[in-house]
Amino acid sequence: MAINLVIFAEYLIGFIFLAYSLIILIKRIEYENKRIMRGYYALLSGIGVLSVILLIKGIKFGLLSFNEMASTLAFDFVSQLILLPIFGIALIVGMLFFQDA
């Protein structure tokens, strides 16, 4: 239970930092080269998806810390099966844009 709480806290803090850094990066993007902007946007969307994954995982472990019988399959289904591959694909798309630049 304590471990679940720790993992919940880790995910939540990670989500907060990631979301905050995403906001800074969106502000900072105007100082970058225009040719690589598209790739940057793809990477930032990937970070957005990852922050959502962290949030879902945090909720999952938060619920588990209170009730061990809580079903975790739905959270895994959304985060691992759907969102995680989208994160990977977004990074690849970003890299491909950089390659063209």
Partner: protein, 375 residues
């Protein structure tokens, strides 16, 4: 359920492969020199590094807790590093840009500031001036249009008021007419009620008439039958009837003559009265004349002549009275004869009626006998 868990683990491995592929791609791009295009290429390093915990969690033989621990801790560390780096770099870049802007403010003759003013600010000012001129023109046009429209509106308002007055007058007239029409409608409704009542009565009467007609048809049929029977007998009595009619005509002529005689009698009575009055006057005049005999001998002679004339008239009147008496006696005789004839005709009519009754009784007996024979 097991299938979904299996799918999830397979997807984990696929994602790890994708992230590895991203890492390889980024390494290759870096070696090609792409990092020169970025102001801070390390940010991309950290972004790619975010996939590392997910790759490590797929290592075989790790327990579940260790796996999630690596994932959560790795993501936490990487995100903190990313945040710290981006925050610091953003602050430095931001401060640099602020310093440049301060230089521009402090040094108005700075080449960038001058260029900015010439290339960006001046065209904007020119545009604003043009827009102001256009606006002032537009305002003038709008004012003129508004004035024209105000004049038009005032004229229209006057026309409208005049029309309104006319309309109000027409409305009054219409109201009066409507009142009259309503009165007429009320009267019509009353008449309609009466008409309906009469109609109902007529319908009742029609029904009664239909009933009576049916009865009449039956009776007519009976009368026709009786007529056919009586036709034969009527032809027998026809001649006698004609004689009676002739006698009646003669009676009518006698009555006319009687009326004429009555008129003559009245005239004669009037003349008699006039003569008596004249006689009375003459007697008075004769009394007066006897007193003045000597003075009016000539007048006496004339009076004597008048007396003679009167005597002649009296004689004529006596003759007419005698003739009248003769005619009267004749008429009385004729009247008596006519009364006798009437009595004879009445007796004859009674006799005919009795004969008709006898014939009807005989016919009834014959019909009875026929029916008895038929049965």
């Amino acid at each position: 359920m097991v299938d979904i868990a299996l799918l999830i683990t397979i997807q984990k491995y696929v994602t790890a492969l994708l992230l590895l592929f991203v890492g390889v791609l980024w390494h290759r791009l870096k070696s090609q020199g792409i990092s020169n295009l970025f102001s801070q290429p390390r940010i991309i390093d950290f972004l790619v590094l975010l996939g590392l915990p997910f790759i490590l969690s797929t290592l075989p033989g790790l327990p579940n807790i260790v796996e999630t621990g690596i994932e959560a801790f790795g993501v936490l560390i990487t995100s903190i590093l990313l945040f710290a780096y981006t925050y610091r770099s953003f602050q430095t870049v931001d401060e640099e840009r602020k310093g440049e802007l301060r230089e521009l403010v402090e040094q108005p003759r700075h080449p960038i500031a001058l260029e900015f003013a010439r290339k960006i600010v001046e065209p904007e000012i020119n545009l604003i001036k043009r827009e102001r001129r256009k606006l002032s023109h537009f305002e003038k046009e709008v004012d003129e249009r508004l004035k024209n429209k105000e004049d038009e509106v005032e004229a229209k308002v006057k026309q409208f008021n005049a029309k309104m007055d006319k309309i109000l007058e027409q409305e009054k007239k219409l109201k009066e007419e409507i009142q009259k029409h309503e009165d007429k409608i009320k009267e019509f409704a009353k008449e309609k009620k009466l008409f309906q009542q009469e109609k109902e009565q007529v319908e009742d009467l029609r029904e009664e008439i239909d009933v009576l007609n049916s009865q009449l048809r039956k009776r007519k049929e009976n009368v026709k039958k009786q007529k056919e029977k009586l036709k034969g007998k009527i032809s027998e009595f026809g001649e006698e009837k004609r004689n009676v009619e002739k006698n009646l005509q003669e009676i009518a002529t006698f009555t006319k003559k009687k009326e004429n005689l009555q008129k003559h009698e009245d005239i004669l009575k009037n003349r008699e009265k006039q003569l008596k009055e004249k006689e009375a006057n003459l007697k008075k005049q004769s009394v007066l004349l006897s007193d003045k005999d000597d003075e009016f001998d000539e007048e006496k002679n004339e009076l004597a002549a008048q007396r003679k004339k009167l005597d002649q008239e009296w004689s004529k009147i006596d003759v007419q009275a005698a003739k009248y008496n003769e005619k009267r006696t004749e008429l009385l005789v004729l009247e008596n004869k006519l009364e006798d004839r009437k009595e004879e005709l009445q007796e004859w009519e009674n006799h005919l009626k009795k004969q008709q009754q006898k014939v009807e009784e005989e016919m009834g007996d014959i019909l009875k006998k026929r029916r008895e024979n038929g049965n």
